[in-house]
Symmetry: C2
Subunit: 404 residues, 2 copies
């Protein structure tokens, strides 16, 4: 596989962009030299890079493409809205329709607001929790990703000690550590922010234990803290009712983003009537946040997610993919470990603490035209047919033979 | 003018959205009851609301619509990009082309990065300044708007004292106050963030004095602090070379947003080679930030801004509008005060400290089909022809007679 054009573009990029490509799509975070650096065109579950290489994709743009690239119904809805104009002096009726849709769909939700990015609203949700409670402190899972703002960025540059003066973390699923934080900061805790399951980079995914979920819920109620669900990555993939419904609890605030509009830029936060007045006192705005096209895309995406029971499809296709992949590993004597829910699987080579063999396997998969990330969970999309999965598995068998 | 449908939609909105409409487009910030609350369709410098009322628009979506609503060339460029897909696992070549374009256009700029909203990058620019200098403190103009993040939001809800522990403000154009802050925080100052001119809400706009510009520049150099230009609102309106070129200085970092892509969601920060390595250490990302369509829209918008010398057009049309408006005020015995550069004018009734008469005048203008904001600067667009301006002035004469 030839990445000549990707590398040429990267040299141009490095001349005019810090790091060449920044953020989660930087090749430095995946497999420098063994991955495409620039995309050209996508359709369904496949995309081509700038060298004309084609990939069966299991990352979906790191989440957004839940229905696959350039979904015709979603694009048609967005186009219709876009032709009417954008970024008006006022919202359009789509703002109201989308808020009505989300509050009807998510059982606990009485209201909704919208922004562009998950981090816009995870950050805002902390401010709402502080406004509701009058308390400053927020508890979070150690290593959980909630965005690139100073209170939660995985980066190290540009921080001041004050940025995290009130952020305290605990190991996922560790009830004792969580209880200890609630006791230590009693009377000062605004909220606890959780992801539905734990999907750290460079580690297996972990599902929440029933004990942890029960303790998180109980401690928030006892201490008057808000339970905030960062459902940015999982939302509408695991359940059409919000991912908390899968794990048997109810948050006070939940944030959705990636699968909300199949790649159109929008995020949402929903909450309860009891916190609506406080939420209205935390100023929230952005230049393009009333743009109707992403709202039309979100309404179309949610309608398809409901109509076609997308979470059920993703789970079934993901199970087929993971089972097939593990079976190939057994067949060829390369033990593999799978984690995470099947709709968002992650598979690595067993006994590979440095991730070296997993990286080699993913590089070989990419060389065979299957895009897998070596140390970040993957995303199934509704565009993966059984035939696409079988095609991917045939390629992965060749990749396993290469790396075996 | 009938706002029945706007009001009906607002009642629905208020049921499912905190405040009904939040942020800068809330009717509470303009003229509740006298303005449309929801937009339906826009083209050029005119838009219709959901009741079918049409307005000659002087707000341009609070800035983005520098070429007017639904500009055919910009939309065609965005559509072409969008058909190829969005939110890939990698950026597209448009990322590189846009960074090359901005660094070629802005004389001091050696690199560029992109996000979705102005506030994404004003906040990031502070982190870059901190990473460059190892110092925490940032000086800002009192009352300047830089976004809705905790360090700068005009809101009051959800804040902690730590959010602004290192933010210190001074009155615009006050050289003594600025010098005093530099002395008081000597050795701890990361940067000074300025807007090209001061455009506070509920006040006249103020242009920078040459003394102030010289002092800001000198103090940043003397103290090793970065001079950050928040050119979100003014960028590519006052000059195609960045607004600093109008006022005779050169920043270290500059942020563009509103006029960059004529309503498509994108913002940019540019900087110098000396700070590129530090910038690469401040993590920056968002789910949809590689989306090629807004980058295509930005390239198309910038090409038109250059080709048609848009800043010159905006200045000429703005001057015609302001001169005509002031003359009508004189003719009818209602003294008016204009401030700000003609491309971004603001006109109010003189001797009106409560803004009551200015609000009445803007309400009357809206009733006559001219959308003016009573206490926020306005935005000329390239879609305002002389005939549109004369049409607007004829309507404003009727508005003045109504309120006289």
């Amino acid at each position: 596989m030839n990445f000549t054009e990707s590398h040429a573009l990267f040299r141009r990029a490095a001349a005019v962009i810090p790091g060449g490509i920044y953020g989660h799509t930087t090749p430095a975070a995946t497999l420098p030299g063994a991955v495409p650096y620039f995309a050209a065109q996508g359709s369904g579950c496949r995309y081509r890079d700038v060298d004309g290489n084609e990939f069966i994709d299991f990352m979906g743009g790191y989440g957004p493409m839940v229905l696959g690239y350039h979904h015709p119904e979603v694009e048609a809805a967005a186009d219709t809205a876009r032709r009417l104009g954008a970024a008006f002096n006022h919202p359009t009726p789509l703002l109201v329709e989308l808020a009505e849709k989300l509050t009807a769909r998510i059982a606990f939700a009485d209201w909704a607001v919208f922004a562009k990015n998950g981090g816009d609203l995870t950050t805002w949700s902390l401010m709402v929790a502080r406004e509701v409670t009058g308390c400053p402190k927020v508890l979070k899972i150690r290593g959980a990703y909630h965005g690139a703002h100073a209170w939660c960025t995985p980066g190290h540059g540009g921080l001041t000690p004050e940025d995290r003066a009130h952020i305290h973390d605990f190991p996922f699923n560790d009830v004792g550590a969580l209880e200890a934080l609630f006791i230590r900061h009693r009377g000062a805790i605004a909220g606890l922010i959780l992801t539905p399951f734990h999907h750290p980079a460079f580690a297996d995914s972990e599902l929440p234990s029933p004990d942890f979920v029960a303790a998180a819920n109980r401690l928030c109620r006892e201490h008057g803290a808000l339970l905030i669900l960062d459902d940015v990555r999982c939302g509408f993939r695991l359940s059409i009712d919000g991912s908390h419904s899968v794990y048997g609890y109810t948050p006070d605030l939940a944030i959705y983003c990636k699968a909300l509009a199949n790649g159109h830029p929008i995020s949402a936060c929903v909450g309860r009537a009891a916190h609506k007045a406080a939420a209205s006192r935390v100023f929230l705005t952005g230049s393009y946040w009333n743009d109707p096209a992403p709202m039309a895309a979100a309404l179309a995406t949610l309608a398809i997610v409901e109509r076609d029971q997308i979470p059920r499809q993703l789970a079934a296709r993901g199970q087929r993919f993971v089972d097939g992949f593990l079976a190939l590993g057994r067949k060829h004597g390369i033990p593999l470990v799978a984690s995470g829910p099947p709709a968002m699987p992650y598979v690595r080579v067993a006994d590979d603490p440095s991730f070296m063999r997993t990286q080699q396997l993913c590089a070989a998969a990419i060389a065979e035209g299957v895009f897998l990330h070596p140390h970040h969970n993957w995303f199934m999309s509704a565009a993966h047919t059984e035939s696409d999965i079988d095609d991917a598995l045939a390629r992965l068998e060749r990749a396993l033979l290469r790396t075996g």
